[in-house]
Symmetry: none
Amino acid sequence: MASAENLVRQRLTGLVPSELLDDPEQAASRHAAAVWSCLTEPGDGVAGTLVAALGPRTALSVALEDGTDSVQDPNVVAARRRWLPRLGTVDDAFRGAQRAGVRLLTAEDDEWPNALDDLGPHAPRCLWVRGDLGTLSSRTPAVALVGARAATGYGEHVAMEMAAELAGSGITVVSGGAYGIDGMAHRAAIAAGGRTLAFLAGGVDRAYPAGHADLLARIAAGPGAVAAEVPCGTTPTKWRFLQRNRLIAAAAGATVVVEAGWRSGSLNTAGHAAALGRALGAVPGPVTSAASAGCHRLLREYDARCVTGADDVRELLGLTGAAVSGDDSFTGDRTRVLDALSVRVGRSAEEIARRSGFAPDDAQALLGMLELDGSAHRTADGWRRRPA
Amino acid sequence: MASAENLVRQRLTGLVPSELLDDPEQAASRHAAAVWSCLTEPGDGVAGTLVAALGPRTALSVALEDGTDSVQDPNVVAARRRWLPRLGTVDDAFRGAQRAGVRLLTAEDDEWPNALDDLGPHAPRCLWVRGDLGTLSSRTPAVALVGARAATGYGEHVAMEMAAELAGSGITVVSGGAYGIDGMAHRAAIAAGGRTLAFLAGGVDRAYPAGHADLLARIAAGPGAVAAEVPCGTTPTKWRFLQRNRLIAAAAGATVVVEAGWRSGSLNTAGHAAALGRALGAVPGPVTSAASAGCHRLLREYDARCVTGADDVRELLGLTGAAVSGDDSFTGDRTRVLDALSVRVGRSAEEIARRSGFAPDDAQALLGMLELDGSAHRTADGWRRRPA
């Protein structure tokens, strides 16, 4: 079917590397994945299961086939009735992507974020990307820094410090492109010369929020990327925001909520991270600040780790060695003898023993050790403590 | 030995209820516990083990006896050499207590905080108390609110709000009488008309810090108490502060660190609470505030619960509906009988019935159930509680 091949080639031109267009199998598979993203809402498990079982191309043939006897799964039969009405949007989606210089990324590509596959049947079939595809790769450690749009100066300050230090040290900062914490995290990552990745709830050809058009363009200018699983021309809806949150949580090795009110949408991202078994952190704030109430809720109810700075985030990502602790029973005895010593007045060993509650021999032995480490010294009128 | 009885009577006059002075056995036992507190540093495990095995009076005879053949335990032989040099301080300790209007509390007293017995051999032998002895009883729920001397306005605000609400609702606020968080917790509890308890590291006859002389006097004026395990005339030392912290942690059902720097002494109290299996909470603050770094450390390293207000503290204490499990009415009855039992002193079932306010048959039945679950056991001289 040469005309079908031509349609695929025409639609994918500019969206995938040109050498791929010369391989009809590769092109058809990528095209099918992209069409699936046009036909389905994010997280459509029926589509995900079908594609996982048959591959995007065969699954799409099944979905589009008119003969009712070839489709027996009642879920698929029902789902076709929500998929097929969207066939008319497919052409516009590809054209919109070409106009906006968008790239198409699918599971076959090297840069595909394999971490998203942890979403199982709810994983996206493809991503529409503006910017550097390498930003998506799960080979680079990534942290999601998210939080409330209505952030305070405190929250924005912490987001900025943390994002700058992490991005500056080679960790990709993932967020949602929103006002408040998200925007500050992206901005600081860019300023630090690091990588940042924004997942949008609508098509990447349109800026949401509109006030972040410049910021999103700067992210896409690199080193960074703006990505969405919905095709160009798609408006963000509440459902799509919630589903977009699962991409942020899945793409990052850890999610840290920097500042969030009691019902902040970023708690949804945190919930996805916890459900996926990703490390979850929350930055505490004053208990008197409503803007931190959601973070405290995560610490209390979701067993989130308390995150106070970039080092804690690296620990969440497993990028540091474990903390070392040591203890010394000598320390307690030492303290008791030191308490009994004076800097100004010399005291006999017997006096020290009485004051510290040790037997004279033991006190003598401890004094000897304190003398060795320089904390105590003998003078003409007895033992004295050395000034700190 | 009438002269020994007279000495005991003379020393205890004013320190214990006068009717006790007419019972030589009772008086001698309390006197011995008080003498032990003069001879030992806080937490002396050899003394604690000896007293637990023989009772304070017999243990003291053993310790004071000159014949070497009667004492064989090498730990005791060694310990006698640190205990005996302090015999000369005993008279002054009793006289100082009488002058300061201090009361003596021992494990035989109704008001004795049984929760301290969880310290095992490191439990204090007695407490020297200014104020209302009832404040000490473990029958009232108690929370330790502790923190840094160098508190910020934020920390003091939170301490004040939390202490006022908790004390106002019948929960005893325990702290260490220091500047900063401790002082604010005591003050707010008093202002709310609630009970507050200050454990001091030195003798209760002297105010430490001196600037809190008025506050400590107000606490003692009630409803509240100032208590120490060291006798009157004892200076606070670093060791005694650290040991005092274990009393705060043990006496309270939960310890909450309100504000603490990275190396604050209140982290030591938190460590004792954790070691004792007490609930541990920490109030978060801005990660940009060094004064909250210790709280965040507790959240990260000690698995402390994030505490944002009085309700969270009640949950830590198990005082909220959600936290209660099992047969409530039995739990309450069980607690009452447990409160009437001592680890160190055997009591008859009749005595337990009287102390717990149950009919003898009911007390007997509850004791049977406590025996079954291992919380209580029968000994030659009656029922005892098993150490936690």
